[in-house]
Structures are given as C-alpha cells and as structure tokens.
Symmetry: C2
Subunit: 226 residues, 2 copies
Amino acid sequence: MAPTTKTADGTKRQRFSPAERERLIVDGAIQFFAEVGFAGQTRELAQRLGISQPLLYRYFPTKQDLIERVYDEVFIGRWKGEWEHMIADRTIPLRERLIDFYDAYASEALTYEWIRIYMFAGLSGEDINRRYIELLEQRLLVPVCTEVRAAAGAPDPDAVPISELEIESAWNIHAAIFYYFVRKFIYRTPVEPDLAAYISDTVDRTLDGALVVTRETVGNANPRAA
Amino acid sequence: MAPTTKTADGTKRQRFSPAERERLIVDGAIQFFAEVGFAGQTRELAQRLGISQPLLYRYFPTKQDLIERVYDEVFIGRWKGEWEHMIADRTIPLRERLIDFYDAYASEALTYEWIRIYMFAGLSGEDINRRYIELLEQRLLVPVCTEVRAAAGAPDPDAVPISELEIESAWNIHAAIFYYFVRKFIYRTPVEPDLAAYISDTVDRTLDGALVVTRETVGNANPRAA
DNA sequence: TCAATTATTTATCAGATGATAAATAACAGC
DNA sequence: GCTGTTATTTATCATCTGATAAATAATTGA
C-alpha cells in the first residue's frame, strides 16, 4: 500500500502543544468521570477526546494520577475568597447576603461535574469530602452562624462560642440547597426550574430555623434592653 | 496423591439448600455492593461469601440479575404502611409524630447499605431513585403537608391543593435528616452521636419553616376567627 | 450400602483493560 | 527543502473479569 498522510480513521493527525493537550485531557476527564464514575475506561475517555488511548499515558503516568488531577481541578481553587466578604457585609440584610452567596456558589461550584465527582469521591472513600467539609465549616458555616448571632441580637462568638447546634442549623440551610442539586444531577428528578426563586425561598425557610435556635439557645446579648 | 474429601483450600465443602444459599448470597451482595459499588467483582464477592465464583452464576444468571435482586431487597418492602398512620394520627402533636416517624424511618430504612446503594444507583443512572422519590412524595410528603395544613389552621388540601412550595418545605425536613446519613455513611464525617436528639432538633427547626410557608401562602381556613 | 441427584468446585474461555514499546507524522529551525 | 525533535499512533503485553463446561463430593432414597 502507498504510504498515507492520514491516520487510521482517515482524519488528519492533530498536534497540540503539551499545555494545550493536557488542558483538553483534563477537561475531558472531568466531564467523562463525572458522567460514568472513576471506573470509566481509559479507552472510552480517549475516544471521546478524539485521541488514542496511550496518549493519555504520555500526560499522566497512571489513571490514578489523572483522577487526582481531576480532584484538584474541581475542588481546589473553586472557592472564592470574595464569598466570605459577601457573607460578612453587614450593610446588606443577612437574608439578601445569603441569597446572593448561594446564587454565586450554585452557579460556580455546584455544577453537574462538581456534584457527581464529589459523590463518587465520597463513595470511593476519598478524604476529599472531609477536607471540603472542613473548609466549608470554617469559611462558610461559622461566618454564617456569626451573622445569624448578630441578626438575632445574640452575643458575639467571642463572648459565647458557637455551639454544635448552631452549626447544624447552618448545615440545614446548606443541605437544603445542596439537595436540590443532588436531585437534579444524581437522581435526575424534575426540580423547580427557577433556581433563583428556589434559593430565595429556601433561605427564607431555613434561615428562620437558625434564628430561632440562636435566640433560644444563646439568647439576647442585652436582655434588659428587650 | 490420594483422593481427599476436602476442597482445595482444606475446608470441608459446605452444602446448603438452594433457598438458604440464595439468602446468603443476596445478603452478602448487599453488604458487598454497598461497600464497593456495583463495579465490585464477582470473584471478590464470592471470596467474602466463602464460596467459589461460579456458584454465584448457579443462582443468578448474570451479575446484573444479582444487582436487580439487591435493589429489590433493599428498596422494595422496606416501606412500612404503619408509618403513614403515624403521620396522620392527630391525637398526637405533629412535632411528635414527625419525630416518631423519623426515628423509625432512620432505624429501619436509612441504614448504611440503604444510603450507599441508593447513591450508587442514582449515580449509575438507575431509575430506582426516581421511583422511590415518587413513593416518598405520595406517601410521606403529601401527608406531611396535609398535617402541616391542619396544624397551621390552613384549609384542607381538598379545598386548596398542595403547592409545589409546600412540598419543597416538606422536602427540607426530609433533606435535613437524609443529609445526616449522607455525612455519616458517604462522607464519613463525624456526626452528632445522639441520633434521637438530632432528629428532634432538626424537626423543630425545619417544621417551623413549613408552618410559616403554609400560613403565608395558603392562609388561615377561617381568617375571621383569628 | 449403593445409586441417583444435585450443590459446589476446578479448569478454562473470550473479551476487556491498564499500561508499555516501537513506529509514524507533524512541526521547528536552519 | 532538509533534518532533528516530539506529539501522536499502532501494535502488543499481562492481567483482570464475567461467564461457561466439566468434574467432584455431599445428600437422599431405596
């Protein structure tokens, strides 16, 4: 046969710079593993990327290395420092701050890939979830509880440390939002199409519980003023 | 070599009736798949059961058949009709009814195997989750909303149909309980050790939101009496 | 005690799967 | 245009994995 300039499947061979190709592989892997889980096969991933399977191994020595990279890409660096400022900005009513935060958090963090990879990671015993939950408690839930204290007229955390019960009530807010995406991306159940409306309704309902808990268990900072 | 009466690994061959062996296999499979997911290998399952791998195929023609059986065992028949009576029994305060129900539901349904298999099933695109959610809405959430109506002094669902928003507020109660077990069995994060206390606290917080929603969106059945 | 039945095991297949080595072709510099 | 470099592919290995067939041993009934 005459030598051909084409590859086996007839398409011209595409060449990218290592940086570009790596980007393509990582992005494809995120999509792929989010969809089928980490038991997904390298051959199928390669096919979706339009490359040969061994090329993956040029960029990642083992499948596990690629998976670790996916974890990093999805979980590290998606947390925005400005979110913490949003929560703490007392020039805006707390309810609005929470709604704004969850609007941002949902659109930037709680995506299809994020939710599913997070759940796959949890089920396969990775400690990423625990680490993420720690981050969440420190950077979101404690600040939220602090703001709830202020909104409820309760003493500052400096005076009375935040209790487990208060953290739980902040988890309730978070869980309610999170569960929306679990239903949407994991169970694939019909969900309220207007996400913004869902978030504001949910914050309304669950913030109430947190305020009540705080008032009842921590009390007023200055009872005689009441 | 002299013929031996033992099997290769030196243990005497155990014989069970087909019914008994099937029971052992199904129970083992539930544990096994809950732990490692449905990508778990039949050889490893067989090893845990102390049987040879081909014996599995004597009882289940394919691995998928075994998986279906696991679904049936775990999800079908764990729902107890009496739970619906518990929810509807107006001789008891609604708060207590919900706490009693979730105590029972948590201990009988929301087990390690249940939670993990449910999540594995969802991630692999099974429709079991959707079917279960439908069951839950009809047999739990709608009844809960009905009772919330009564407790809030709002009109009966016969007069004013239950809204999506009310269902969402019932979901919030459920999601908060559910999330506790997700944290415990999937993320393996430390959780409140006193489950009963967690449930009663959570019902307190989240039921409040549902009552508020109902009062504000459905209103009082007899406003002039207020 | 012996033969028939069948629960269970050993041996094995065929295709899948992560990974490696060698061959090929696109590109860069001169 | 030629040549060296390297991004990419083809070919292939070794092991894993669901599934099947044949052999074996525990049990049952006469």
